[in-house]
Amino acid sequence: MPIREDVLVVGGGLAAATAALAARETGKSVRLVAHKKSTLRQASGLIDVLGYVDGDGPRANPYGAVADLPEDHPYGLVGEAGIREGLRIFDDAVGDAYAGGHTDANALVPTYGGTVKPTARYPESVAPGLASIDEDTLFVGFEGTTDFSAPVVAEHVVAAGVPFAARGVTVPFPKTFRDDARATRFAKALDEDEAADDGGGVRRALADAVAEHLTDEERVGFPAMLGDDRDAEVREELADRLGVSVFEVPTGPPSLLGLKLEDRLFAALDEAGVRLSTGNPAVGYEADGDRIEAVYVDRKGKNVPYHAEQFVLATGGLVGKGIGSDRERVTEPVFDCHVPHSEDRYEWSESEAFGGHAFARFGVVPDEELRPTAASGEPEFSNLRAAGGVVGGADVAREKSASGVSLATGAVAGGRAGEEA
């Protein structure tokens, strides 16, 4: 008898984790099959639900903004209840590592590009830096970290109209690394309070270097590399030495905040008893009529069947490779579900780089049960649901809704799959 579960979730990101946790809550046996390391490590670690509608925002209340979205948006199917359910599962999984659950309103978080981003949940280390807190701010960058320029961040944050003054300075990190050192290297040096170039600990040396620049600012923001395993301790020590609050600014990939979120979610999956099979891609399926019997996982040239009663497809969108495309057509590669798109590929995009591109909304078309439908509108399979980026209809980059769509559709698709299994 081969590998068999009640519910099989295909994918390894936020939507897949949420779907697996939701399905597990129904008491059924659940397995998650993921290919590469999760795209969470490329993401900021912020949980955005809805910040803009058709380029208009930032919206203060994501729930209020849902009504203004186009009809075929996945939020229309799962409703406010679905969004709240997704956030509940998320909050349970991450515990007090994240803040933002106390309010329905969006928080405004300064990012490493200097934008102020509306988001629903944010790591606890980011919380003291919120743009809504009226405290003058010093942004500190390190020489050699090319993707974080503190003066540029400060300038852009001020230009965004925040209610406080901000300045940016760049200091040498007190321990010299190779020129292209990774964020994880800085984090590790702080974690272990390694010896700085002057012989003392790097935490103290860093605080001293920053203190020289600090005038009457009330808080200091660093790129998110202030420690990994002992991050809270690092921030606390820096704050103590500087006498102001210290926060982290989410960075680009590989993002430590994203890595930590990935770790937390996988720990939550493990604790919940979700089984994990990672490292090999799902490539196809076996069906009996409109019922999927098994998903094939390609184990370096050989297809291994993973059987289940119910399936959730959460393989991501174009970036996560859950949606594929070539010059001719747009596809969903695992189940070959219908993905509507214009035959003329010049209509897939707009000339404006940040315009409302058609490709951004590519994905499977879910019915009210989140089952992908064929061109006819009928479900492709009776026991397959979809969640996250593979679901079409949302322009998550423009709306700042990627995490919310993953959480909400994951919660609903996973929950229903569990109930029916």
């Binding site: 490329q42 690394f177 964020a183 590989p254 099979s277 490292g279 370096k300 780089a353």
Partner: protein, 433 residues
């Protein structure tokens, strides 16, 4: 990104007379590694590299792979000697969101470095050649196991090894068994079960033959319980230590024997089973990436790790749920090469359901020994630094017996903690036989 402004004059220059440029001198000699340009420099590979994590001078897998290939495209650039500091754990493969074949590039680059840039009379070359051809040493040593065990772990010999060959004296050589697995197998008269449908060809590799035949015997007994006919064909080293040392010619000779022996059995309906995850990794992934013998693809597609095979083909879960063993606790470490095959959760997942067993995963750090890597005098400290996290987790785990599928990981676990180490097949044997 969203704060970037649109250019004031967005109209692009009109280009109506576009002529494609010939980039390569000769289309037939296009030297662009497959996949090199899929790398978009996200550095996910670097963040998951255990060597880069502890060695600030190591430029990491992104440089060793796609960047080095781009540099080389113009011609006479040498391979950077840092390629010899890669431990071939292959974690970068798994981390890359863009499926760049990083470890394949590293293996190829290392082979080229050793062939063209390394002095064949140097101490390093000779030492690496000896380490990667462990099987030859083992074959001779195992003829007189007691004497070899005594000699190798004699401190004078160890000092000589370190001074002359650069093999660290910090480590104890693994003991040779009094009887090899193959000797045992012949003595018992080979297979005791015959079957038309259920047939496996066992790739035991060197270590379970010469050093831990109890693991190989456990495999035989467990598979026979499930009714499998077992063949143990002639075989050589899987090649893993040779890839890691850039000895691609040695690896190719060994692989040719293995592919020919095992593909013949596949034609007769056998699947290939390995008890070492580096061996199964090698047959599955590295052979088709590096060699083109007849039958390579078939061997790759038909090779499985032992427990993986049982999970796919038998109801192992039900068997385990109905079994019980004496109370015992394990600190389990998943080898890097098990991770790359998607096997890192299976032992914990399965044995959690076994009555009497408490098993705990000690986290995702690399053990640091990486086969021959941790045996090298100049790499020993790096190897132990990488392993520190695992030792720490093992000591905090409830169990004081370690468990892993990889023979060199088990050496490192034992070396760092003093714990006894078991192979999952041994526990499976205890539960089911």
């Amino acid at each position: 990104m969203s704060d970037a402004e649109n250019p004031s004059n967005p109209t692009p220059d009109e280009q109506t007379d576009f002529e494609p440029v010939q980039v390569f001198d000769d289309e037939t000699e296009m030297d662009l590694r497959p996949g090199a340009d899929n790398c978009y420099k996200c550095t996910s590979c670097d963040t998951s590299c255990p060597v880069a994590e502890v060695d600030d001078d190591f430029p990491g897998p992104k440089f060793q792979g796609p960047e080095q290939w781009r540099l080389k495209r113009k011609g006479d650039e040498d391979i950077d000697d840092s390629i010899m500091s890669c431990s071939n754990c292959m974690r970068c493969d798994n981390a890359c969101p863009s499926s760049v074949p990083l470890s394949q590039m590293h293996n190829t680059a290392r082979g080229e470095y050793v062939d063209e840039q390394m002095d064949k009379l140097s101490r390093e070359y000779i030492r690496n050649r000896i380490l990667s051809n462990y099987r030859i040493m083992a074959e001779i040593g195992s003829k007189v196991p007691r004497l070899t065990n005594f000699a190798l772990n004699n401190s004078v010999v160890q000092k000589v090894n370190e001074k002359v060959l650069g093999i660290t004296s910090e480590r104890d050589f693994p003991e040779f068994a009094q009887q090899t697995f193959r000797e045992w197998w012949h003595e018992r008269g080979g297979a005791r079960v015959s079957s038309e449908e259920k047939k496996i060809a066992y790739f035991h590799g060197c270590y379970s033959n010469y050093n831990t035949p109890e693991v190989a015997k456990a495999l035989v007994r467990v598979f026979e319980v499930f009714g499998y006919e077992i063949a143990v064909p002639r075989q050589r080293c899987s090649g893993t230590p040779m890839f890691a040392n850039g000895m691609l010619d040695d690896a190719e000779r060994a692989a040719e024997v293995n592919v020919s022996e095992f593909s013949d059995l596949i034609d007769e309906g056998y699947d290939v089973i390995a008890s070492c995850t580096s061996c199964s990794m090698s047959l599955r992934q590295e052979y088709p990436e590096l060699f083109e013998f007849h039958g390579t693809a078939e061997v790759s597609a038909h090779t499985y790790e032992a427990m993986e095979y049982l999970r796919i083909h038998e109801d192992l879960e039900a068997e385990i749920e109905n079994a019980s063993v004496e109370e015992q606790s394990f600190a389990y470490h998943a080898p890097c090469h098990a991770r790359n095959q998607g096997l890192e959760h299976q032992a914990v997942e399965l044995f959690r359901e076994l009555d009497g067993v408490n098993i705990e995963d000690v986290g995702d750090s690399c053990s640091g020994i990486s086969g021959t890597y941790g045996w090298k005098d100049e790499k020993y400290d790096t190897s132990m630094k990488i392993g520190e996290e695992m030792f720490d987790h093992m000591e905090h785990a409830e169990g004081n017996v370690g468990m892993t599928e990889c023979p060199t990981c088990s050496m490192q676990m034992e070396h760092g903690t003093g714990y006894d180490i078991k192979h999952p097949l041994q526990l499976l044997e205890e539960a089911l036989v």
